[in-house]
């Protein structure tokens, strides 16, 4: 599987987690826009991101540093962050 396909699949997987954890309505993992601004347009905030970060830690064994939350404002940025950390780990 290429890195691009892996990332695309990861975006869908993380979208599913966010929908489940944040109880988002009117969106599916496949229709979740990875570029949408989670703070400005979805209305999630630091506590929501912390919750998602804990579930992602369970799933991928990757730690999202608290200082990095402000940078992770879209589904794509979160997915790339996880993807990069996994790649760095080999």
């Amino acid at each position: 599987m290429t890195a691009a396909i892996e990332l695309d699949q990861m975006i869908v997987n993380i979208a599913a987690i966010m929908i489940e954890e944040l109880k988002l309505e009117d969106v599916t993992p496949e229709t979740f826009d990875p570029e949408i601004d989670l703070v400005d347009e979805v209305g999630i905030d630091s506590m929501d991101l912390a919750t998602v970060a804990l579930v992602l830690r369970d799933k991928y064994a990757v730690r999202i540093d608290e200082d990095d939350y402000p940078k992770l404002t879209t589904l794509r940025l979160i997915s790339e962050y996880i993807h990069r950390k996994l790649a760095d780990r080999g």
Binding site: V39, D45, M47, A50, L54, V55, E66
Partner: protein, 349 residues
């Protein structure tokens, strides 16, 4: 040691239930507002009468406040804290705020009763027994008057501020309040910038205060809204900023997320200054153990507390306490962890 998974931390049904209960309030986004420059008493060490904010003009126009509340709602604020100098002196403004923003709290000395139509939590400041209040606040029979005004009122929480000199009196005050069926929580005197008076805590007074808090929590569990972890977090030799990293704009340059993005502290002229924006402006950050600061700063550190059951349950107790103190209708549950747990990355004292 293998790290705990979050799913395992919330596997216990009691913990899961508490987690689900508190997370329903993650939507709260606060800002604070000075309502008037006036007060009917003058207390030693009062935060309001420190720094520049006391000199702001007073804009007492109810329609200006209504417009402000609507604008606040538009930018995502869901919770207001109405304070300084004495909000009970401007009941018409409180009413306007409540009409526009249904969740909030008012910090008052309790001498003048706030109309029941203002459905916010009401925090009544208590600085010791009536003898001590008479000396520090120059007001007679404070506790008796506060109880008379607010006994049986579900909005009311009495906030006992520990100084190095009133630790022993807390038992007497807690006994009186619990006998009257009143709810009580604890605050720590946190020195304003440049404060050189005798109310600043010392290592000894921090130790004694922690013990007093835990004793009173054990003695009056139905009336004291607190947890063991609250006691640890607020009586540590390090202040809240050093322990948890204060997220208020005054100490947090990030404007992307959380308090750094949304919090403002409005003065009586309805202006605000990012450089001074925190829940209790003009507090010396190194000495800040204020209950309002902790209520924002500790809950925000969810991730770092999700490391083992005791630490996570302590965090849940803290958030449960915060919600019971600040949100109308939220009833505190039994604490999940009664052992002393250190803040992540630090010792217990």
């Amino acid at each position: 040691m293998k790290p705990w998974k979050f799913a395992d931390l919330i596997a216990d049904p009691a913990v899961k239930s508490r987690w689900e209960r508190v997370r329903r309030y993650f939507f709260l986004r606060e800002s604070t507002y000075d309502m008037t420059r006036r007060c009917n008493i003058r207390c030693e060490g009062c935060y309001y009468f420190e720094g520049e904010k006391q000199h702001a003009a007073e804009l007492g126009d109810p329609e200006a406040w209504r417009a402000l509340m609507r604008a606040e709602r538009e930018r995502g604020i869901t919770y207001v804290v109405l304070a300084g100098a004495e909000p009970s002196l401007v009941p018409d403004l409180l009413q306007v705020c409540y009409q526009e923003m249904p969740l909030g709290a008012i910090a008052t000395n309790g001498i003048q009763r706030i109309p029941e139509s203002v459905g916010y939590k009401i925090h009544l400041s208590v600085w010791g027994n009536d003898e001590t209040s008479g000396r520090i606040r120059k007001a007679k029979h404070m506790l008796a008057r506060q109880i008379e005004n607010y006994q049986g009122d579900p909005r009311a929480v009495f906030v006992y501020t520990f100084t190095p000199h009133n630790i022993a009196e807390a038992g007497e005050v807690a006994e009186i309040l619990s006998r009257q069926g009143c709810k009580l929580t604890f605050n720590m005197f946190s020195a304003p910038v440049g404060y050189a008076g005798a109310l600043r805590h010392t290592p000894d007074s921090l130790t004694q205060t922690r013990q007093a808090m835990c004793d009173l929590l054990a003695r009056y569990p139905q009336h004291v809204l607190f947890s063991t972890y609250n006691a640890v977090a607020h009586t540590h030799r390090l202040g809240l900023h050093d322990l948890f990293g204060c997220a208020y704009p005054r100490r947090n340059p990030s404007t992307d997320l959380g308090l750094g993005r949304s919090f403002r502290q409005y003065r009586t002229d309805l202006n605000w200054d990012r450089e001074a924006a925190c829940c209790v402006p003009d507090t010396d950050c190194a000495d800040c153990r204020h209950y309002a600061a902790g209520s924002a700063v500790v809950p925000a550190r969810l991730f770092r507390h999700a490391v083992d059951p005791d630490t996570f349950n302590s965090w849940l107790d803290y958030v449960d306490t915060y919600l019971a103190v600040w949100v109308m209708g939220y009833e505190k549950g039994a604490n999940l962890c009664n052992t002393v747990v250190a803040p992540p990355g630090f010792g217990i004292d």
